[in-house]
Symmetry: D2
């Protein structure tokens, strides 16, 4: 319940002037689960860029008349972002806009570079200044530098891909072109579709294509560059197949929406499959299977299907608790989990319950959910997790944390079982991850530490924030 | 998807000064589903009242420092309200506060009077002036008038109950007492519980007791008055058993939260039972049963249980679409239902689908959901509704509308089936409603027109707003 | 610098539908000095009332799209209010709206009743309930009660004038009529003018007529009722000449804008005259005369004219310090007066300065201004006050406070001179007040205690707020 | 009334931790007249920077709890900015913050570079990217580039001064030092003072020193660099006296506050002197001299002193009309000038009036003021302008516009006199400008076109915004 994807991107290219901002707005609504901290839209009206970005959900940032203030245009790009909270992070909002005599540019980015530290150091030593602490500004610099001598913006993007390392699904908008690109490992998803002849959309997930009524065409290949312009769509594949595909397996398990398909595989199906595997590997005699809403429901249904134990609705999520929830202070000792989740006594009272969730990070929330169910009368609680234990930080665009905060790095499974108060606990075996998507081409570094690229493990993940305070 | 409960109430009484406003805040969060338009809290600090009320969700209205601005106190009362939108309705926010030499009073009300028009006319002819168009102000007047000659506030409430007719679950706070009362028909729920010795809470639904960690004691009896004061809790039953209990059956079908129990019956269980009945009365040969989230899920599970057809997750609700959703305008033809709901292709493609929802009001939304599923590849769609058709307006605190807007008043079931594009359609039989709660003591006037009290069917429901424009 | 008028009123009547809300908006801007705490507008569109009221300046409350949300109409009434701060006072915003079967009504009021306490007590004993703590609600009740048996709204207003006692300049809007009335003493100003044939405006001060381009017609007579309707303008004079005119003299000295005329007398001229009198009664050998901006400037110019001592610009007021000024806390010891006022060294350094202000309330501010000038090098500072010393509270619509807070009630003039650090101090002699307006018909109760009506001196001015906390 | 200064800067250095943000807040309030569009504060707490910047007045941006959210610190820098309106300009807010491994830096800038275009082009060709369209970002780049090889931040600033050309008064904050510098021409003012031993403040104008209770020490010399650090204050003068001082004469005439002194000359005195000169050069037989508030008042008083014609208060400015004034739309034809200014009939009716203002830009406002006075009964209106006619755009930090918008570029003085409806019109003679400050070292390029530095007159002033739209 506390792991976050860091971004979602969305782009529209139309051969005619239209309400491109409305389309991006709808698209971002459908991608909101990928980032709830901030969002932004940049509209391109015949070469002039109009932007609005702020801290807040899509509905908050573009409420009032903000959306109507945009002109029509033939291109637009949007972004939703998860990040640290606080007013000052407003400058980290995306898309990033660059003013440069070789051409204005707006960039929306999902992912994290694994060589950002090194690249930024080099750039700073040439006199570059940075306004933000995000990798995206580094990408903007690299593309701009390459642009100085490149015959076209897409060539500059292509050359930059020789320099950038790590996870990056990008949408880059120039005055006349829209360029989508996915890094050679394909860490993060990126796909495109068609609304009508001449009107195309690019999105982090296919659910956002459906939201705007677009027909899904296909996922970008790892390493592919797609160029949308008045001359049509051009695909550049010079970076394709230079690496083995390493799509983040946790996109399937948790980040993506169940109605999305990534690289041909239904997210909902992958999650149900995880439930099947759990039922096989960690069977248990029980009366009901329930899921932790929302992301544990699909796997719970899968567990029920395979085990034959009836599926139940055992936990209700308060749908009004959003970013706006203010805890009124320490003095009133009301369990926060009780505000967000409540047990359905009818379902669990006197029952042996299988409880399915997608992950255990620190264990605190799991412990509280177990207690909630016991208070509602559950006789036994058997926890099943639709992922292996987290053991390593992620360097490719999620906030899976350093070892010291991960419960599985410090305790054995029996210890964790006791800590959370469950009667039994079973994780998805690491070796079975491939079964979820019927492929072995995925990144599972957070579970096994096998990072596809070199990573600077001795540098904290919030490296740039830290550096600033050190330099005096 | 478009019927609304009109209110939820919450009260706290504590023998010691404490953060009563925090408790009400948590309680209102749990009751938010009963009213999303406005909310308010009044805190009683040793006889001084402090209030904050505004248009907006609980998290919006009490965000920032509003909650911390309240002093501690030993009593507080809160309210969530559904109503017509617009800035001017701020004056209709509750709790209503009355300044009077016989004692200040704050009132929170759930329900609607059926003799409000008549009472208000009489009051106006004695010179009374009204600031709002809500029945609650009429209740405040009646109690105040009775208070002039009554020895106590609870006696004034009791005498008022001889005058008030219709649905009213009230929490009334005086400088020294908290009074809860439920009308003799018990149209709306009201229950109370205990946090610790001397600290009691009153709430529209039991889910709000759980949210603040209170132990459920019991529902109020229809006609009961409960008085919380320094001398303890006193129950007055002189209005009990004067009428047959007529609790709103639609509370079970749709309004209440599934984790609540009302008068001893689990809402979740009642909904699953509705699914069972549908499976028996309208059986169909199909591959999967899905529910329209959130309120159709329980009945869908019940249908699956009874029919043996597998339960599936076929529709995903965008949890970020709230009150903040702004439609950007007519020009961009994006189906609004597509933004709120999306189909899981994996679940429905190529399948014969049983689709369970709680009601059909105008039919538009149902038609769009059916289309969504067809677009996702569903082969057949059999719609099952966990309630009988709406045929009559409600005068007891919900916004079930007048006949001209109800599809079932104008079309036959085969016509509706065709209009929404389903392959078959089955409603819950009216005669089976009692099975949901194993009792015959309920109000089902919206289905059968049998109003427990006299109602003025010739007066439009928004009577006071109208009257204003007529009088020139 | 800390005495406040409590209100300003504005009304428009037009025989044709027009943007009446815009006119009221401009009018309230011009009357903003009469009340900065809250404001409101009610538009009458063919009998339907649309209102918006809130805490804040006119520009804040009607910023955004609030003004455009009003429909056109043929009448509108507006109000600016000074009052105690805080969110809860939102309910005290005016105009007050009354829904009643005898006809809807909106009331804007400037003044204070001197028999409000008595009237409210009587009303409460008949069962009336009050939502606010303002006298205006009492007026609304009285008019409504009279309306029950009166043949017309204007007759109800006229009958109410037999009951209401004290200061009240009212604008009352019914579905079809606009009624202006001024109490028989004429405590507060009220005038009307004409924009074009059929379009009339009523305002607290003539400056607001100019602001909307209206031609001044005349002040209302004390006791006069003016009725604007489709049949034209009718003047009812049955309450005229029943009392001696007692217009508040402090309107001329401080409250009103210098470009207004009240009852034929220019406010600017009255203030200059005060300066002349001060120069005659408290002459001094000095180098420069300066005024405390803004309200001391006219009298300073008068002093200079009469004395022959040059007029100078010696104090600059920071025009950006408004309601929004937030003092950052106690720790930083920055003199607040220094933020609001600064001395022009060039003007005062090495000079003997005559400093003219309109009043001394508690003395603190005056002392700080004297220090500011000394720090800027002034050699001598001779303070002259364009009013007599405050010795008594006001019961007619201003916040001149009770004796214990008025410096002149506790100290002699030599003591005050020393306390504020001036070299000499001279007040306007009480006997000369009539010279300002060349009439003896004024109220100067705050200076001499001669209240034109009975007042309940034993009841605190914030009587209703207090009562509430006592009644338990 | 429509010429704007573009910025004000303020800095605090303290040897001990203190509420530096409060001091900057007060200082910015006193400098608000130099920029009303946006503002910002950056606090340095032992090397960590905390910032808040936004569109709005100081009181708006730092209202609520924003100010209290800052930690204590030993340095802080602030900025007020005038600029084009609109949400997107939020990114142009200052102080600019730079994250760089050679050390973090915050920069506040008043002025405009005359070689910005050239510098930015060069930088872009090395791959630099720009987020804003302001010169300040160019300055940040130049200093950062120099910093790479410089032994200290102050040395980097000094080397940058060889590259930067035009107007720049800067406050630069590094983790350990505060650096103030004024360009070698001294176009814009900059001074410093002392609050107590070890606590120093830097400000655009001396009025801001008074506001925080600081003792004025002196103005910075043109070309001077002042370094505040734990080792004390160091003055570097290597750029001093390399150019002739060219302080903007319009600072005295209009921009600065009358209570400020710039380079030893009182602004109030300079303005009164302008009045004296006007009385000598353009004498007229009249009854009263009035000024257009606020900036015309000092010169009007000077005119009165020299001519012997009495000074009067003839125009009142509505002090509530701020940034918040919303014009409700075109349909209601209310003269906007009437909302902002009103005539005092008592002063002008039947009189021959000398009307003193500081400038005529397009002539529209002047025409309306003349009409306002005629409507109030003025018999003759003789306009006197305390500056020469604007004939050339300003490239040094104000928004004096290009020739096509300046009335004096297109019409003769008799023509202008007729256009605005005055009886006579007299400007301050260009040759007399030096008399205002008793020096010939000033810039009067907007009057005479003699730019002290090369300027690119063929490049529009909003060059960077334009460039963006051209590059496709």
């Amino acid at each position: 319940m506390s792991i976050h994807e860091e971004c979602g991107v969305f782009g529209v290219f139309s051969s005619a002037q239209t309400n491109v901002s409305d389309l991006v707005y709808y698209g971002l609504y459908a991608l909101q689960h990928r980032g709830q901290e901030a969002c932004g839209i940049v509209v391109n009206d015949d070469g002039l860029f109009y932007s609005h970005k702020d801290i807040g959900l899509v509905g908050e940032v573009f409420g009032g008349s903000k959306l109507r203030d945009f002109p029509k245009g033939n291109m637009a790009v949007g972004h939703v972002r998860y990040g640290t909270t606080g007013g000052s992070s407003r400058k980290n909002c995306q898309p990033i806009e660059v003013n440069h005599q070789k051409g204005k540019m707006a960039i929306a980015h999902n992912g994290n570079l694994s060589n950002a530290y090194e690249l930024r150091n080099k750039l700073e030593l040439t006199g570059a200044i940075f306004h933000t602490t995000s990798d995206t500004e580094t990408i903007a610099y690299i593309i701009t530098k390459e642009r100085l001598n490149a015959p076209s913006i897409e060539e500059a993007v292509s050359r930059s891909m020789n320099i950038l390392c790590g996870a990056y699904s990008l949408v880059v908008m120039s005055p006349a072109k829209m360029i989508a690109c996915r890094d050679p490992y394909g860490f993060r998803p990126l796909c495109y579709g068609k609304i009508s002849d001449g009107t195309y959309v690019i999105a982090s997930e296919s659910c956002a294509l459906s939201a705007v009524g677009a027909e899904f065409i296909r996922d970008l290949l790892p390493g592919e560059i797609l160029v949308f312009s008045k001359s049509g769509i051009e695909s550049r594949k010079e970076h394709c197949s230079t690496k083995t595909k390493k799509t983040c397996i946790f996109e399937y398990i948790y980040f993506a929406r169940p109605d999305s398909k990534i690289d041909g595989v239904s997210v909902h199906k992958a999650r149900k499959k995880a439930g099947h595997i759990l039922a096989e590997c960690h069977p248990v005699d029980a009366d009901v299977v329930i899921g932790v809403p929302d992301s544990g429901l699909d796997a719970a249904l899968g567990f029920s299907e395979k085990s034959g134990i009836p599926y139940g609705i055992g936990l209700i999520k308060n749908k009004y608790i959003g970013r706006t929830f203010i805890s009124p202070g320490q003095e009133t000792r009301v369990d926060q989990v009780k505000i967000k989740l409540s047990a359905v006594e009818e379902t669990v009272s006197g029952k042996r319950v299988v409880l399915v969730d997608d992950s255990i990070v620190r264990g605190t929330t799991s412990g509280r959910i177990v207690k909630l169910l016991r208070d509602a009368g559950a006789k036994e609680i058997h926890m099943r997790i639709s992922a292996p234990p987290f053991l390593h930080p992620c360097y490719y665009g999620t906030d899976i944390d350093s070892e010291e905060h991960l419960i599985a790095c410090k305790y054995t499974i029996p210890e964790i079982t006791e800590m959370i108060g469950a009667d039994s606990l079973g994780y998805l075996p690491k070796e079975k991850l491939g079964d979820l998507i019927e492929s072995t081409d995925y990144c599972s570094a957070c579970f096994d530490g096998e990072y596809p690229t070199p990573v600077m493990t001795n540098i904290p993940k919030n490296k740039f924030e830290q550096k600033i305070s050190e330099a005096k």
